[in-house]
């Protein structure tokens, strides 16, 4: 007898990315307290959260919640010397990469995998000025993708409106087999729009760099929580604007590639 038909179906639900639902709750876990109190599993010496035990040299477990900045031994600042970061990345890669633990114990191999994957994740994030800001905000639970994600920034409203019109015209012309001249005209319009939005993107990137510098200065001068919160909100707003413009640029590029 086949029971499978009478068995109740499991309650299927699409997975939900919690990061987008409950941002502040989880991303803001305190980071470094566990690290500093750690001791070496091999020789019991205090490790101070180092990659290797200062006493016996064994690779150490990764404390939960280790953040990318502290992994590289960096302050949570947004100006990063990329050359220095790359050098550290290379020197840590030599020490942590699984290649050098191929003949080690299972435990050590796992630790090398944990540490080297975090190293790579951290390097990938910190070398990119935009990802760096997003990450910092995420750590503080301050990264909030706007509910009004689809809404154009006010200063771009007119351009976006024009763009949508040109896009509609282009699709229509394509569907009805418009003349070559008409198509070329529309293409030129789109290309102009593309340049315009690329310029906006560059401008917003500069703005992000400015706010990032402000953040670093505030950190140096020991600004209070209200001030840094304000800066974070500002950064969050710039990021949202940036992602909107970025989508526009990608959309136009794709449309041009297809036409």
């Amino acid at each position: 007898m086949d029971f499978s038909l009478s068995r109740p179906k499991p309650h299927r639900l699409k997975p939900v990315l919690l990061a987008s639902l409950l941002e502040s709750d989880f991303m803001s876990a305190p980071t470094t307290t566990a690290a500093t109190s750690a001791t070496c599993a091999n020789c019991s010496a205090p490790t101070g959260g180092a990659h290797f035990c200062p006493s016996c040299g064994k690779i150490q477990p990764l404390p939960r919640g280790t953040d990318f900045f502290s992994f590289f031994g960096l302050p949570q600042k947004l100006t990063v010397d990329l050359e220095q970061l790359e050098q550290r990345f290379h020197s840590l890669s030599w020490k942590l990469h699984p290649d050098h633990f191929a003949r080690a114990s299972d435990d050590e191999r796992q630790l090398s995998l944990d540490r080297s994957s975090l190293l790579n994740d951290a390097y990938r994030t910190l070398r990119d000025p935009v990802a760096r800001v997003e990450y910092l905000l995420g750590l503080a639970g301050m990264r909030k993708e706007g509910q009004k994600k689809q809404q154009a920034p006010p200063e771009l409203l007119e351009e976006v409106f024009e763009l949508n019109e040109s896009l509609d015209e282009l699709r229509e012309a394509r569907a009805s087999g418009g003349t070559a001249a008409a198509m070329a005209g529309l293409r030129a319009k789109l290309e102009a729009a593309q340049h315009k939005f690329e310029a906006s993107l560059a401008a917003v990137d500069q703005e992000l760099a400015r706010v990032s510098a402000e953040w670093d200065a505030a950190l140096d001068s020991g600004a209070d929580e209200t001030a840094s919160r304000k800066l974070m909100e500002k950064m969050n707003e710039v990021l949202n604007r940036r992602s909107y413009i970025r989508n526009l640029v990608n959309g136009v590029r794709q449309e041009l590639a297809e036409s």
């Binding site: 994957s117 994740d121 990938r124």
Partner: protein
């Protein structure tokens, strides 16, 4: 001491190499035919024994139903994925195939990893013989653009062959390792790897540090179904179209199709150097189409110039350039910023490929190292690095495809972007959406598209959660891509701190239980003694050649008695006698040597027969009536 080897498991050829510690450089291990190239062809004999490599390739012409080539194209793919392939490749897919393809060879059925395992076993036996010792640890190379399922299938093949797979290494990266070692170069390098069935482009940065040299891959791209095979198929499509216009349909003659393929591949190789070539190909009359001596009705005679050849293959070569541009863009470099270009893979011998690459990068590509061997050599170096031998080189490779999970509305949330240095990881938090939900389904995908249906499904699994209010559960899932580019998943319940056991069902692959079962079954194919097997194969081969010679002699006697010069007859008789003597003995190498001698001696004979057939065909006469 157990040895570790590097293996290039290729579409057309496979090779095995090791690091020679005394000389401090990698070397390929030659097989019983004296060459390190093992054709990636597997044949199953009527008695169930498995034949691999050169003898299997010969059986493509006589036992095509029992023989398979280019099985790499099927690795890690489902039946629905290979429909296009089936139009051109003579794969006989078992209709009962579900997620994993099963291929019919004679009356037996195998999965692609099992067939690849036969090739790996053959190579392993070469190394065992070479070292007079057991080799059981290997680094195996894969196309850089292979996805998780294709990598897992390759790892399974290694396991089935009795090898501990220490690491999968990307082919262009392995080539860069061998190349860098050889040239002592630093800077930005593009590796253009165009093989038998796959195309890869990788952009690397070679850096000197105080600890040693780092080979950092900046980006990679490619097409896992684009290679020399496609050139062969384009030529074949042309030939078959022309033949069908003459009313000849080869569909009913699978062995003849293989003969045609062989002739066209020979023409392709000639066109690498020559300005034109001629394809001469005897057509079947429904009778015996053995090596020599068949009565042919007519001949397919076709001249191909380099210009026409270039025109035929240009679309194929052009298809490689999209990935090249994308890889450069991902590395944030322009073609002018690339300091060296390295060509890897047999298909880079095609002149049009070379000129296209040279034109694009504006510099002459390197091809000093043998493009067939360089990948295996690099794999051997990496094997030695893992064994602690070479300790002043480090490879930092990347994952070729973005990893994502399906979210609301079938949209993919990317969690590890393509070209991330591996190992790489991402942690995601999950919760329940409705009250008393007991499981959260997770669907992991690979690819660059927005929607799950357009990406490659890797696996599905369910996180178990205790019943409770919606949104209470807190499950943290860690996705990790290891240094071989293979996904690992771990989950932890943040409220209880418990680690979750996750049973990941691969979407297109064998689960552990299936691999175990196959391992047990494979005992029945337990390796015969190497030289015993070689002896059997060599004798079979000798028999085939002797019979064909006899037939050809009889036929020449009938058609053109007296055409054969006395000294040729003398040499031929001598070769036959020597081979018969060798067959009576037990030295397979000796038998092989005399097979070659006889083959040489019959060449003028075969040439005359072909010309007679051709002459008859050109005069519009039927040879059978002459």
């Amino acid at each position: 001491m157990p040895r570790t080897v590097g293996i290039d498991l290729g579409t057309t050829y496979s090779l095995i190499a090791y690091q020679d510690k005394r000389e401090g450089r990698p070397k390929c291990i030659p097989g019983p035919y004296g060459t390190p190239l093992c054709p990636s062809v597997v044949s199953v004999d009527a008695d169930g024994s498995i034949i691999v490599g050169e003898p299997a390739r010969r059986r493509l012409l006589t036992q095509s139903e029992r023989t398979i080539y280019s099985v790499k194209r099927l690795m890690g793919r489902g039946p629905a994925d290979v429909q296009d392939e089936l139009k051109i490749f003579p794969f006989r897919i078992d209709p009962a195939s579900k997620n994993v393809i099963r291929v019919r060879l004679g009356d037996r059925v195998f999965t692609p990893p099992e067939i690849s395992a036969f090739i790996l076993r053959e190579l392993k036996s070469w190394a065992d013989e070479y070292f007079q010792d057991v080799v059981d640890r290997a680094v195996i190379t894969v196309p850089a653009y292979f996805n998780d399922a294709q990598r897992q299938a390759t790892r399974d093949a290694g396991r089935l062959a009795g090898l501990e797979v220490l690491r999968l290494v990307n082919e262009p990266t392995a080539a860069a390792l061998a190349y860098g070692l050889h040239e002592q170069k630093r800077g930005r390098v593009a590796v253009y790897d165009f093989g038998g069935g796959t195309f890869d482009i990788s952009i690397l940065k070679l850096i000197s540090t105080t600890e040693g040299d780092i080979y950092q891959v900046l980006s990679t791209n490619g097409d896992t179904h684009l290679g020399g095979d496609d050139i062969d198929n384009a030529l074949q499509a042309l030939a078959r179209e022309e033949l069908s216009k003459q009313g000849v349909d080869l569909a009913a003659h699978p062995d003849t199709v293989q003969e045609l393929r062989k002739a066209l591949i020979a023409a392709k190789h000639e066109l690498s150097d020559a300005a034109k070539t001629t394809v001469k190909f005897p057509l079947p009359d429904g009778g015996d189409a053995a090596l020599l001596g068949a009565r042919q009705k007519t001949v397919y005679f076709r001249e191909i110039t380099r210009a026409e050849y270039d025109r035929i293959i240009r679309p194929i070569v052009d298809r490689t350039m999209g990935p090249v541009r994308q890889a450069l863009a991902d590395a944030k470099l322009t073609s002018a910023e690339i300091e060296e270009v390295v060509l890897v893979g047999g298909s880079t011998r095609v002149p049009l490929v070379r000129s296209t690459v040279e034109e694009f990068f504006g510099r002459r590509p390197h091809a000093e190292l043998n493009p067939d061997e360089v990948v295996a050599l690099g794999a051997a170096v990496q094997a030695d690095i893992l064994e602690g031998g070479v300790n002043d080189m480090l490879l930092l490779d990347v994952t070729p495809l973005s990893l994502g999970i399906e979210t609301m509305g079938g949209v993919v949330a990317k969690i590890i972007p393509r070209n991330s240095t591996v190992p790489a990881s991402a942690q995601e938090m999950f919760t329940t959406g409705v009250e008393n939900q007991t499981g959260i389904d997770i669907h992991v995908l690979q690819g660059e598209r927005e929607l799950a249906k357009d990406c490659r499904s890797l696996a599905r699994f369910q996180l178990k959660v205790p019943p409770g209010p919606a949104g209470l559960a807190r499950i943290e899932v860690k996705f990790l891509i290891d240094a071989s580019g293979i996904l690992q998943v771990a989950a932890r319940d943040l409220r209880t701190g418990e680690e979750h056991k996750i049973d990941v069902q691969p979407s297109y692959g064998l689960d552990d239980a299936a691999v175990e079962r196959m391992l047990e079954e494979s005992i029945e194919f337990a390796e015969q003694d190497f030289s015993e097997r070689q002896l059997i194969e060599a004798r079979n081969e000798a028999e085939t050649v002797l019979q064909a010679t006899e037939k050809a002699l009889a036929r020449e006697q009938e058609e053109a008695p007296g055409d054969m010069p006395a000294e040729e007859r003398h040499a031929l008789n001598g070769a036959v006698t020597s081979l018969r003597e060798a067959v009576a003995g037990k030295d397979y190498k000796r038998i092989r040597a005399f097979v070659d001698v006889l083959n040489q001696a019959t060449m003028p004979l075969a040439e005359r027969m072909m010309n007679r057939a051709l002459g008859a065909a050109l005069e519009g006469k039927n040879l059978g009536e002459v």
